[in-house]
């Protein structure tokens, strides 16, 4: 065991933890974006609410979710430990502003990461916490005729506080009663300052991943003449452009479309 301790206490071992947790969080972003694209479906939140219900009631996903939360904490904690170490490594700062050519993002990973951590706290306390642990999110009842695909939507007030969700059928009509997270989302996204927080956070995410994604591969020692350019392009286009733009589009579209 002491050998493992030695490995993960070394500079490269700590960087390995940063890289692995970081890459896991990157893959999570892909899934999170893909799932949340259902917000753009014009179905009064049916697909999104069913999806949210699935995520919170399917045990394997719950397990992965707690691994995810742990990784966020570990990533932030190791970032803090490494930053403190790095500050100690240069006790006297330069009088002249350092002018070595480096990207802005790579020099400000700590700042960008702190913005993201703050955002995650705001984001999770508003949606995840309220959805799982409070009664502030209402219910919707979707009645879909499975033959004609006609759907009626009504608010639903459960008799029991214990009620979580139900799937029943009445003849050819499928009745789905789930928590209406979609309404909570559109309420939040109708406030301009809330939209602003989201857009700023996605800007931070873009710069964080612009450096972070390819940096993780370097830390793992995975550089190769053939593959490194591909990794860099994925880091730029997928993680620093498409994903932040996709996430930022959600509050912006909801705000301006007034959904």
């Amino acid at each position: 065991m002491s050998q493992f301790k030695q490995t993960f206490n070394s500079s490269i071992g700590k960087k390995l933890i940063m890289a692995l947790t970081g890459l896991f969080l990157c893959t999570f972003l892909i899934v999170h974006l893909a799932g949340n694209l259902q917000l753009f479906q014009n179905d009064e939140g049916y697909a999104f609410n069913v999806y949210a219900n699935f995520l919170t009631h399917f045990p394997p996903i719950e397990v992965i979710a707690y691994i995810l939360y742990a990784f966020i904490v570990i990533h932030a904690l190791y970032a803090l430990i490494l930053t403190i170490n790095n500050r100690k490594a240069r006790p006297v700062q330069y009088a002249h502003q350092p002018k070595s050519p480096t990207s802005w993002g790579s020099k400000n990973m700590g700042l960008l990461g702190s913005i993201l951590l703050l955002f995650i706290v705001i984001h999770m306390s508003d949606f995840w916490y309220k959805y799982k642990y409070t009664d502030t999110v209402g219910f919707k009842e979707y009645r879909t005729n499975v033959l004609s695909n006609e759907r009626t939507v009504t608010d639903f007030v459960p008799e029991s506080k214990e009620f979580e969700h139900s799937y029943t059928t009445e003849n050819d009509v499928e009745v789905v009663r789930v928590k209406d997270l979609h309404k909570k989302v559109s309420e939040s996204f109708s406030q301009w300052w809330y939209v602003l927080i989201y857009v700023i956070a996605q800007g931070a995410l873009s710069f964080h991943l612009l450096h972070g994604f390819q940096s993780a591969f370097r830390t793992l020692g995975w550089t190769h003449r053939k593959y490194t350019p591909i990794v860099e392009q994925i880091g730029i286009w997928l993680f620093a452009v498409i994903i932040p733009l996709g996430f930022a589009a959600m509050p912006v579209v909801y705000f301006f479309m007034g959904k």
């Binding site: 490269i12 170490n85 070595s100 990973m109």
Partner: protein, 256 residues
């Protein structure tokens, strides 16, 4: 040329230092940066001021002795040269030049602009060697090495150990230096017997010396007078992690 110098003055390792301003008059644009300092020191001696202490030796860019953090960049504003190869024509008449020592906890200031870089020597001693048989040298063609591998190893071997990578790094990390030494030997057949032991012991010594942790900003690569590339750090990480996580150090017998 007439210049103004802002120079870090520090009596010894235990004293507090501060920036002092000195004029540098009658400087020829053809002088090297160190010759300019020689001229300034000459004038300081005439004024009964202790001359500025700085490291230098070969003055042709191969010994790795000269240092100096000039206007926010190790070895000054030009790419791929050492301070002794920097000429005053790179500056404009009337410029103010800020000169500081390398800043790192592992490189304590000895005096003024000279720092103690023996941490690098200790890292090198920890594993930067290969085992060879004594006696007559064997035939050079006995060990075949592909040209591309030999070239790459020689690229890493050009590191002169000046410490500019540490000075440039925002984390004062020595990983470019250490990785160049590990890669240089690790790529060649002669370096294979100690390859994985070397990566571990040199990294352990690097951590012991109190250098920071690499965040892949690339400042080291940009400032290295010998243009050692960031790829070396990846190779070191690969060897280190492979040694720590996947290789068996000792032959283990089950049941013991």
């Amino acid at each position: 040329m007439k210049l103004t110098l802002k120079v870090w003055r520090q009596k010894d390792a235990n004293s507090a230092g501060k920036m002092e301003t000195y004029p540098a008059d009658n400087i020829s644009p053809d002088m090297s940066f160190l010759e300019m300092l020689d001229v300034v020191n000459e004038s300081l001696i005439h004024k009964n001021i202790e001359p500025i202490h700085f490291d230098h030796d070969c003055r042709e860019g191969i010994c790795g002795m000269c240092s100096l953090y000039i206007n926010g960049q190790p070895h000054g504003p030009k790419r791929a040269i050492t301070t002794c190869q920097l000429h005053m024509r790179s500056f404009k008449d009337g410029d103010t030049i800020t000169i500081e020592p390398w800043r790192a906890a592992a490189f304590p200031v000895i005096k003024d602009l000279a720092v103690d870089r023996s941490a690098f020597d200790r890292i090198q001693q920890a594993g930067g060697y290969i085992s060879v048989n004594t006696g007559a040298a064997q035939d050079a063609n006995n060990i075949l090495i592909p040209k591309v591998i030999a070239d790459e190893a020689f690229n890493s071997a050009t590191c002169i150990g000046c410490g500019a990578c540490v000075a440039a790094c925002k984390n004062a990390s020595a990983m470019l230096f250490v990785s160049a030494k590990i890669t240089q030997l690790g790529l060649l057949p002669q370096g294979q017997p100690e390859r994985y032991r070397r990566a571990q012991s040199m990294v352990a010594q690097m951590d012991e010396e109190g250098f920071g942790n690499c965040t892949n900003t690339g400042a080291c690569e940009a400032e290295c007078p010998k243009e050692i590339s960031l790829t070396n750090i990846s190779r070191m990480n690969n060897d280190f992690l492979s040694a720590k996580l996947f290789r068996e150090e000792e032959i283990a017998h089950s049941g013991e």
